[in-house]
Symmetry: C2
DNA sequence: ATATTAACTGTCAATAGTGACAATAAATTA
DNA sequence: TAATTTATTGTCACTATTGACAGTTAATAT
C-alpha cells in the first residue's frame, strides 16, 4: 500500500538553498516565489507543494539558517586537530572557501535586521551567535588554559567580529589585503593570550 | 513672479530618513511606498511627487547613504582633538550613541548584499568603505607616526571590523560585554602600535 | 487682489505576487 | 494489472504594489 516514493527532504533543502541565495541578494521580502523557483530550477506551485505558503517558507528559512550555523559550529570544533586547535580554527575561518561563500552569513544578516521588530527571532539569532562565540572561546581555552575568562572572551569576540565582517562584506570584492589583515589580527589575538600582562 | 516656497530639500531628506529606516528592517525590496509613507508621516503620492518613482528612490537612497558615510567620515576626523585623536576616535566609534542608531549601517549592508549583481554599486560601496578605513589609518598615523604603514593598515582594519560588526548586530541587543570587548580590543590595537616588535 | 508656483490629495488602471485548488503523470506495492 | 501515494503541472481569483494623472489648496510676489 505504498505509493510513489517521496523526495520531500531533498526538495526541501534544494528550495532552502535557493531561498538562502535569494535572501542574501534581495532580502527577506525581495525573495519572491518566482525568483526562488527560478533559482531552484523548479516551478512556483511545486515550491508551495513542498514547503508550504510564504509564512511557512520564512519560518523554515530561519530554522534552516540557524541550524546550519549550529551545525557548522559543531562541525568546526569537532574537526580540529588536538595539536594547536586554535591556530587551525583561524586558518579554517579565514580560508578562501569560507569567505567565498557568504550567502549563509548574508541571510543571517537579513534575519538580524528583521529582529528589530521580532522578539522571538531576536532571541534565537542571539542564542546562535553566543553559541558560536562560546565555541571559539572553548577552542582557545584548549591552547591557553592559563588565560583568564575575560581575556578568552575578548579574543573570541575579536575573532568572531573579524570573521563576520569579512564574510558579510565579501560581495564588495575587497582587496586581498583585507583577508590577510583579518587573519593576521586573529593570530595576533592568539599570541596575546600567551603573554598575559 | 514667485509662487509658494519649495520645501523639496527638507521633504527629500525626510523621505530618505524614512527610507533608510525601512530598508534597514525590510531590505531594499521590502521597503514599499506605503511603508515609507507611513514611516515619513506622508501620503504615498506625495512621496512620488518629491523623490520620483521607485527606481529614482533607490538611486537616491544609495547616494544618500554613501554620502552620509562620507560626511560622517569627514566630520569624524575634523572634530577630533589634537591631543591623542586616536583614542578619541575609538571612544566616538564605540560610544552608546553610535551603536544605538544602526539604521544607516544596516542600509549600507543591504546595499552591500545587492552589490552581488551590480558592479557599479559594488564599486561605489567599496570606495566608501576604503575611504572610511583610510580615514581611520590617517588618524592613527597622527599618534603613531613611527609605525609602518602595514601595521597602521592592519590596526585600522581591525577597528573598522569591530565597529561594523558591533553596529550591524545591534538589532540583536547583545549583552553590554560585547561593546566593552569591542572598545577594549580597539584600544589594545592602539597600544600594540606603540610597541613595534 | 491676482497671478504664479508648488505642495498636497484623490483616484484609477496596470502589474506583480500570492494562495488555493483541480487535474495529470509517475512510481511503488499488492 | 489495479490501487495508492506523491510529485508535478496548469490555472484562476484575490491582494498588494506601483505608476500616472487630474484636481485642489496654500503661499508667495507683483
Amino acid at each position: 500500500m505504498a505509493g510513489r516514493p517521496t523526495n520531500r527532504d531533498e526538495r526541501y533543502i534544494q528550495v532552502m538553498k535557493a531561498l538562502v541565495r535569494c535572501v542574501a541578494r534581495y532580502g527577506l521580502d525581495g525573495a519572491s516565489l518566482s525568483h526562488i523557483a527560478k533559482e531552484a530550477r523548479l516551478t512556483r506551485p511545486l515550491i508551495r507543494h513542498h514547503v508550504g505558503n510564504r509564512e511557512d517558507m520564512i519560518t523554515g528559512l530561519t530554522d534552516f539558517v540557524l541550524k546550519s550555523f549550529d551545525d557548522q559550529t559543531a562541525a568546526m570544533v569537532s574537526c580540529l586537530p588536538n595539536e594547536r586547535p586554535s591556530s587551525a580554527l583561524i586558518d579554517l575561518l579565514f580560508s578562501e572557501d569560507a569567505v567565498s561563500e557568504p550567502d549563509m552569513v548574508l541571510a543571517f544578516a537579513a534575519l538580524t535586521a528583521r529582529s528589530l521588530d521580532d522578539a522571538k527571532l531576536r532571541r534565537r539569532c542571539r542564542e546562535t551567535l553566543l553559541d558560536f562565540e562560546a565555541a571559539i572561546a572553548d577552542t582557545l581555552r584548549h591552547d591557553h588554559g592559563d588565560a583568564d575568562d575575560a581575556a578568552l572572551g575578548a579574543a573570541a569576540h575579536g575573532i568572531m567580529a573579524l570573521y563576520f565582517n569579512l564574510t558579510s562584506l565579501a560581495p564588495l570584492d575587497m582587496p586581498k589585503s583585507w583577508q590577510n589583515h583579518a587573519r593576521g589580527l586573529a593570530h595576533e589575538l592568539l599570541e596575546k593570550l600567551d603573554q598575559p600582562s
